[in-house]
Amino acid sequence: MAQRIVIDPVTRIEGHAKITIQLDDAGEVADAHFHVTQVRGFEKFVEGRPFHEMPSLMARICGICPVSHLVASAKACDELLAVEIPETATKLRQILNLAQMIQSHALSFFYLSSPDLLLGMDEVPEKRSLFGVAEADPVLARDGVRLRQIGQTIIELLGGKRIHPGWVVPGGVNAPLSEDARDAMLAMIPEGLDIARRTLEWYRTVLPYFEDEIATFANVKTLFMGLTNAENTLEFYDGPVRIINGTGEVIADQLSADHYTEFLQEAVEPWSFLKTPFYRPMGYPDGVYRVGPLARLNIVGRCGTPRADEYLGLFREQDTQSSFHYHTARLIEIMYGLEKVGMLLREPDILSKRTRAVAEPNRSWGVGISEAPRGTLLHHYEIDDNGLITRANLIIATGNNNYAMDRGVYEVAKRYVRGGSLNDGMLNRVESIIRAFDPCLSCSTHAVGQMPMQVELLTPNGEVVEVLKR
């Protein structure tokens, strides 16, 4: 008899989602979907608010990557002022954005995914957490905690607090960097770099155990999208958009975020509240793309910092289409982030007192784009003559990966799930493909979630035949 398996909610991800797997009469996977089930409506309720509130308001979309929203939002507001912000302010915002990436990547890799990588996909669920990791490999667990702390501490030293700092404002940042804070940050970098290297070396040794997963994990051909710069190196703060195809060919380059509606469009699927953007000239679904660490490392020539570039080979010798390598790319980006923060902190003008441009609104619309840990993030605002928001549109990093996540779930379910002998390891693999993308669903739908896991086996008319609880 045909059956439906529901994984709800999906565990060890940020936000709330559900997976359904439809089995046919023979117990084989017929179809599977990734459902994002909540809506929060930020775009609507900011209407009528003064645009100066936007960075702080929009940061509330997420408690994990508030800084990403702060940065993209402040950049959109800079555009409304139509000013060039002081160079020091740009550098300080870049450091903040990179620190955010470091802490978020550390959270994703060490807290959420390392249990699968260290203990294996089939480990018992009670062990499959950071606590299980701490038991089996205390150094790895401690490294993860410390790395996240380094990122968070940099954010705190810059913005005054770890979550939702009010320091980034339209026109720049509202306080310059002190010498003490700079030195405190610089002092943490070497330790961070050691951790990054140690982790990459360990990761190199476990990769061979996951050949099968690497081959199946959303190994779909899609386009990749991300920001670039004139040096063709990793870019997190600004720069034109580049899109490449599955074979690495550049199909669009130097795209300006201001004209994003010309090259991006959003599709709506009935199974999810999360919209699916695609590259407009190629239509849907041919034009779907992936963003984030995997996409960024695929579109650039090199990372742009010496240690990260050393490890770029480790990534490039892999099948760079497989979403499993989001993990690989994430570790390399942590290395890059730490190096780049160090470089920026050593810039001669980093302590300059000139960090804010003051102006009245001079334009009626603005688009801010940046790279969040999970990928390209875009905030678009329109204001009336008095500076009140009339329209807001957000394209959230995680949303960009919606299609790839959905298809990834299907591929993995098809490979691992057998109706007759349902077991926990199978279902964990289905979840872990989602974890590879490190989606932040609170951001993308703007929802919060709590995640014990329950799997239900349903008949086609919805009758529950089996419940699997963790």
Binding site: G48, H52, E53, L57, H164, G166, V169, N174, N386, L388
Partner: protein, 236 residues
């Protein structure tokens, strides 16, 4: 000649002039009473009811800011009953507007927020009303966010009594009450507003603010008022 009276406030022997209010005499003796609408230099109106005190021999609670002292009065300013009512008043103020401190220009420097903290308001037990109120940002330098207005009328009084422009006024009744400029026309179109900014400085919350301020960036300076009022009395 004004007489001097003696009274007891919270078991302290106090003296004051008979034309003074309980609030004034209490402050002179170092006793703080929570308040939102009273401000030194402006005529008291008793609008917010946070300064309510117990006076022996009177069944009702009376606002300290508008009640005159009298010989032999026995006043309690901080009983459990008063604290309960004050917390309730603060809760109702929060429930009636849309006070989102985390994105407010005066976050960390707000009189309403301070009072809530001081009085131990950690929950709002009554349902929020979520009124729909539009921001008026038509003025070139200032803006009014009625979502954060507690109807203390300090703006109305400072504009009428000190600046003499009388741009601000109150409109409607009950839950529909609101502060308005001129005859309920956009602030930016006001003929009477002198753009002096006094209303913005005396506003206890983020309802009136300077444009261009991001979250938590605005500090209100109401201290000019007492000096100004005093020098006028002196005829200087």
């Amino acid at each position: 000649m004004t007489r001097v009276v003696t009274l007891k406030i919270d078991d302290i022997d106090a003296t004051g002039r008979e034309d003074e209010t309980v609030l004034e005499v209490a402050l002179e003796h170092g006793i703080q009473i929570p308040r939102l609408c009273a401000l030194e230099g402006l005529t008291p109106v008793g609008a917010c009811r946070l300064c309510l005190v117990e006076i022996e021999g009177t069944g009702r609670l009376l606002p300290a800011c508008t009640t005159r002292v009298a010989e032999g009065m026995v006043v309690k300013t901080n009983s459990e009953r008063l604290r309960k009512y004050r917390r309730m008043t603060i809760e109702m103020l929060f429930a009636e507007g849309n006070h989102v401190c985390s994105v407010c220009v005066v976050n960390g420097r707000c009189e309403l927020q301070d009072l809530a903290v001081r009085l131990g308001v950690d929950h709002i037990r009554i349902p929020y009303l979520y009124p729909k109120r539009a921001v008026d940002a038509s003025h070139e330098r200032f803006a009014l966010d009625p979502n954060r207005c507690v109807l203390c009328t300090r703006c109305v009084r400072v504009c009428g009594e000190i600046e003499g422009a009388h741009t601000w006024d109150l409109m409607s009744r009950g839950i529909d009450s609101a502060v308005i400029t001129d005859l309920h026309t956009p602030w930016g179109e006001s003929d009477t507003c002198t753009t002096c900014g006094k209303c913005v400085q005396v506003c206890p919350t983020g309802a009136l603010f300077e444009k261009g301020m991001a979250v938590g960036e605005m500090t209100k300076r109401a201290s000019f008022l007492a000096t100004l009022a005093a020098s006028r009395e002196d005829g200087r």
